[in-house]
Amino acid sequence: MTLVREELARFIQGEGHRVELGLLGEDDGATELLFRTRGYVVSVAVREGDPPRFTIATAYEIPPWARERAQNSMTLQDVAGDVGGVRFSLAPNGKNFAVTIEREEMLEAFVRGFWPSVASVREAGIAALERILDRSESRAAANKFIRSLQKGE
């Protein structure tokens, strides 16, 4: 019997992308396929079943100067509310966050919506990162302004 992960790996390769097996063990019944597109590494976790479950994820690094965990956690919640359909997870060390979409459907249906789903993950991640950087920049500008006032300039 052909496994769903094997068929999915063949599909992604057929679309032009080199696929590697990720680090997820099979302890929880999941396998991770990794590929690159548009400069990002995309992970697809596959749990065999009827129907199978798929999780598409991409990770984004937050620049050191913008790593304020509490603030960024709220920003990600805001963006999740605006975008819808995706989930954000901020790493405990605050250095990066992941965007995920989950699907539980037959492979044929998953494959039909595969690239739009990958695009949704990427666009949500980019929107979140932009919002984090914007807020950090406005905060830095505000702090600078407040410091100037305190100096009486």
Binding site: G16, H17, G39
Partner: protein
């Protein structure tokens, strides 16, 4: 010695995690590859080693209004950076190309992802505007 002028671009594709095939002949060096299921090509001519073209070709939808197609093509040519849009093969196909003059294709390598994005976005906009 005949240098493989497209080797740096093959390396760029490799870095992007894209699979590719070569199809060289006496006139040209060619790479074919796919990204997200769409087909692209890279061409360099042996008698014009400074010229490099990256492109993709698409069929026009049946019944597309030729005047509208021309208007959309012209608007994109005027507005988009890098890309040339052309109607091709008895105007049944549309070709999106980035044509560059380089000392060596190595110069293209750091910008390859951006150029691919531009090609992709232009094709997307072309078909979106055609349907609007």
């Amino acid at each position: 010695m005949d240098l493989d002028r497209l080797a740096p671009l093959e390396a760029a594709l490799e870095e992007e995690g894209l699979l590719s095939t070569r199809d060289d002949d006496g006139d040209a060096l060619r790479i074919a590859f796919k990204s997200e299921g769409d087909r692209y090509f890279i061409v360099s001519y042996r008698d014009d080693p400074n010229f490099v073209m990256i492109g993709s070709g698409w069929s026009l939808p049946n019944g597309a209004d030729p005047e509208r197609v021309m208007r959309v093509t012209n608007a994109l040519n005027a507005r988009k950076k890098f890309v040339k849009v052309a109607l091709w093969e008895a105007e049944n196909d549309v070709l999106f190309t980035v044509e560059l003059c380089v000392a060596t294709p190595e110069e293209v390598r750091p910008h390859f992802g951006r150029l691919l994005d531009v090609l992709r976005d232009t094709a997307l906009e072309f078909f979106r505007e055609l349907q609007a």
